[in-house]
């Protein structure tokens, strides 16, 4: 989804995602166990600066609405709260065929939509048709074209999607045209969250403002431009959840004012995080720092280097740039709310190579390398960046670092849409990705390759702003993605690790940091720390938030 303006970040280094995941799992287990005793009731308020554009699961794709949609709707698969661990959700269980092409989902029975009707397999069929239907204009359409018959349906040659078969009321079988290792993750995306046909049609094209799903919360009130109010779904199939009776989302709130509101007790969760200016104050305060949760994200902030433009077509120049950036200083600029990046994949991924040190910060060596490549006196170039804080600061820091090795960078800080456009057109020599890219949609390494580094996305309008294309690696990536069986996973993880290592050798990017999620909540609410910085239900896993005693 789109990252959004002004979310600044911090913290001391985090070691070992595994450690955190175990802790989160334990908390979740404890939670499940103590559910019988936990108190239900209460209301919580979340503040956001930007408006919530839509709550239509097949359409919504931004910071504000992603997790709100996850509370109103459910998908076949979901993740353990606070973790990236995939588990069946609306599906009680599933089978995968030997050849890895067919998935049979056994749906839970007795799951009710908010309008009272029971969810059946036909709703799954309808949902997939809806996400693939060009008329829906779904940003997620591309994820599901691996389903057999999807392309024919999109092109209008077929009335239905051949690969989605309704076996009976509670069984649905989905066949893919070739093995897709990330298929189950895609079942957990918002775009595949199940919707009831009658409600969609009754909304007359504005389902986004009239959402009806199966989730723990239902829409109670929406005052456009001011707030969205959700109330508990009494028929939610997860026993005991949600804890809260009501959730209020205030929009249009400046982060600095939101912070004051939190101190006054009017806001319970800062949707846009702690404002950079108050961060130190919060962390120094013994009480306030207790209300802060910190977690990793599947995010990397990087500078793309356009490999088609001189002098960046020389790998030595690109490597020199990599060695010129002082990542520690940049991380400090955002209150240490990030971890310096040595490589493309964030530590949350298994394919992350913990032993790889990346390019060292060595301006001397960088200058030598530049001279070797034929630029002893450096050269002039441009860096594009999103103008909203802290990205303009980070861009200036990068500019200063590159000036040290003789590369004179003219900054072009502009509106997000124009930077994206320049990147897509292949016009920009260097782009700082902050505020725009890249958070993974699901915890699979291929999501960090196909949209932003693949030959397939090296097209006009594509998000592969580095214009990078390695045909060999592309073939390897495609093959790795067909390794869908459980026994093939270890090999797949290793293969992706190698692929990304090779990409780093060619240095089409300068990976700078992996942002941490740092969230603050009031003393009015509580819950396991991990759910306030949930990597999948970004930013907060609302069903798991409890009123504090």
């Amino acid at each position: 989804m789109q990252q959004v303006n002004g979310r600044d970040s911090d913290a001391p280094r985090i070691r070992g995602a595994a450690w955190q995941r175990v802790a989160a799992l334990l908390s979740a287990a404890l939670l499940v166990g103590s559910m019988a005793f936990a108190q239900q009731g209460g209301s919580a308020t979340v503040s956001f600066q930007d408006d919530i554009s839509t709550l239509d699961p097949q359409v919504g794709y931004d910071w504000q609405n992603w997790s709100i949609i996850k509370t109103i709707f459910d998908g076949l698969m979901d993740y353990v709260p606070g973790t990236t661990e995939l588990v069946p959700h609306l599906a009680e269980s599933y089978d995968v065929s030997e050849d890895g092409l067919t998935y049979t989902f056994n749906l839970r029975q007795g799951v009710l939509f908010h309008n009272g009707r029971e969810l059946v397999a036909d709703d799954v069929r309808y949902t997939f048709e809806r996400v693939l239907d060009p008329a829906t204009q779904s940003p997620g359409q591309g994820f599901y074209t691996t389903i057999a018959g999807a392309q024919e349906f999109i092109d209008g040659e077929a009335d239905s999607v051949a690969g989605v078969e309704v076996v009976d009321d509670y069984t649905v079988r989905i066949t893919t045209s070739e093995p897709d290792a990330s298929f189950l993750h895609k079942m957990g995306l918002n775009f595949a969250h199940i919707v009831p046909q009658e409600a969609v049609e009754a909304a007359g094209g504005d389902f986004g403002h009239n959402p009806v799903g199966t989730g723990g919360f239902m829409l109670k009130e929406w005052v456009l431009g001011q707030r969205v109010v959700l109330e508990r779904n009494p028929n939610y199939f997860e026993e005991g959840l949600p804890y809260l009776d009501e959730m209020v989302f205030q929009v249009g709130v400046d982060p600095n004012v939101a912070f004051l509101r939190l101190l006054q007790g009017e806001v319970d969760v800062l949707g846009d995080g702690i404002p950079s200016a108050r961060f130190t104050e919060v962390m120094d305060d013994p009480d306030l720092s207790q209300q802060v949760a910190r977690g990793e994200q599947m995010q990397t902030g990087y500078v793309t280097i356009n490999v088609n433009m001189e002098p960046f077509d020389d790998v030595r120049v690109r490597q020199a740039l990599n060695m010129a950036i002082n990542k520690d200083r940049i991380v400090r600029l955002i209150n240490n709310r990030a971890v310096p990046a040595t490589q493309i994949l964030p530590p949350l991924f298994e394919s992350h190579n913990a032993d790889y040190a990346g390019y060292p910060y060595d301006p001397e060596a960088a200058r030598e390398l530049l001279a070797e490549a034929g630029y002893p006196n450096g050269f002039d170039t441009e860096l594009y960046a999103y103008n909203v804080a802290p990205n303009d600061r980070i861009a200036q820091a990068i500019q200063a670092d590159l000036a040290e090795i003789g590369v004179n960078v003219a900054l072009r800080t502009q509106a997000q849409s124009t930077v994206i456009e320049a990147g897509g057109a292949g016009e920009a020599p260097l782009i700082w990705s902050g505020g725009m890219a890249w958070i993974a949609d699901y915890p699979d390494p291929n999501n960090f390759y196909w949209p932003i580094l693949a030959c397939a996305s090296n097209i006009p309008g594509g998000w592969n702003w580095a214009r990078y294309c390695n045909e060999d690696l592309e073939a390897r990536a495609a093959r790795a993605d067909t390794l869908a069986r459980a026994d093939q996973q270890e090999a797949r993880v290793a293969e992706w690790r190698d692929i990304f290592m090779e990409i780093m050798e060619e240095a089409p990017w300068i990976p700078i940091f992996h942002e941490l999620q740092v969230s603050m909540h009031s003393t009015n609410v509580t819950g396991p720390s991990a759910i306030f910085v949930d990597p999948m239900h970004i930013p907060v896993h609302y069903e798991m938030v409890r009123k504090a005693e």
Binding site: D10, P255, N256, P275, S276, A277, R278, F279, T280, E281, M283, N326, R329, R332, L333, I334, N335, N336, N387, A389, D392, R393, A395, Q396, A397, Q399, A400, A410, L411, R412, T413, Q414, A415, T418, E421, A422
Partner: protein, 308 residues
């Protein structure tokens, strides 16, 4: 004795007392002496000189390189530093010396505040006077153009320009002039409507006095006060407007400092690092106030229709 509102034609300048005229050759001209007696005016002049010196002599006066980001210019957690011996006015959010940035920032701010604003005022003056004096179809066309320009989405223009053109201060100046003249035009128009109807103007018309003469001698003097307001108060507004436009990518790009730009990038730090907003803010206020005091005193000294 009651005095006339406008100088009578044919005299050298109205009502200079006899003794001053006689001694004009040996001492400073009358207007200069009047000016020097005006304390506020002198203060204003000093202020203007200071700002000009800041702009021109920045490289000599600045203690540091304004673009230099010091690693130890921030706290361990990335917060700006308060004023100290090393950084007389503190540092900004990137660890750069604020004093140096304010000194260098005077250039951009003066250029924009004085020139761009001046252009806007001039344009507004011309349009307002022509519409208010000539009336009829000219008036209609010009005033409706004013309507269009007020509703004109300058924001979108700025973003579009930022993407299409190389960012430059001249574009900012152009956009500012294009957008701000509307205020002056409407205010001037209102006044000219009223003044144009006054008896002496009609009399002048009846006497066959030429258009330009009428405009210059009879109408313009009444507009000077209003022009002065827009010319000086407008400095502040345009400096802040420049910051917004540069933010959109149209004007000066980092690390070139401008007073409005410094404020813009440090606004949310106001409660924790107030010096980042206070010092450039004071610079803006002092600049426009100085120009105002100076200008008013100058006008008073040269203005012969009034005695203190």
């Amino acid at each position: 004795m009651a005095q006339q509102a406008a100088p009578v034609e044919g005299t050298t300048g109205g009502n200079t007392p006899l003794n001053e005229r006689v001694s004009a050759g040996r001492v400073a001209p009358a207007w200069l002496r009047r000016f020097m007696k005006n304390g506020a005016g002198v203060t204003g002049l000093i202020g203007v000189i200071i700002v000009l010196v800041m702009a021109f002599a920045a490289p000599l006066l600045a203690p540091h390189d304004p673009a230099r980001q010091y690693f130890d210019g921030l706290t361990d957690f990335g917060d700006p530093l308060p004023p100290s011996e090393r950084f007389p006015l503190g540092t900004d959010t990137l660890g750069r010396d604020l004093a140096s940035r304010i000194l260098y920032g005077a250039r951009v701010s003066l250029l924009v505040g004085v020139l761009a604003n001046g252009a806007a005022v001039l344009l507004g003056l011309i349009i307002g006077v022509v519409a208010g004096y000539f009336r009829g179809v000219t008036e209609t066309i010009l005033m409706r153009i004013t309507d269009v320009m007020t509703a004109f989405p300058a924001l979108i223009l700025a973003i579009a320009l930022a993407a299409i053109l190389r960012p430059s201060l001249w574009i900012v100046a152009l956009v500012i002039a294009l957008v701000n003249w509307v205020w002056i035009a409407r205010a001037i128009y209102a006044q000219v409507l009223s003044i144009g109807q006054r008896e002496f103007v009609e009399a002048a018309g009846a006497l066959g006095v030429g258009t330009f003469r009428t405009l210059f001698r009879h109408i313009l003097p009444h507009l000077v006060s209003t022009l002065m307001v827009f010319g000086t108060l407008g400095i502040s507004t345009t400096v802040l407007l420049e910051a917004s436009l540069s933010f959109l990518g149209v004007g000066v790009q980092p690390p070139t400092p401008s007073w409005g730009g410094i404020i813009n990038e440090s606004q949310s730090y106001f409660l924790d690092a107030p010096w980042l907003v206070a010092f450039p803010g004071v610079a803006i206020v002092l600049t426009s106030l100085s120009f105002n005091l100076f200008g008013e005193a100058l006008r008073d000294s040269l203005d012969l229709a009034e005695r203190r």
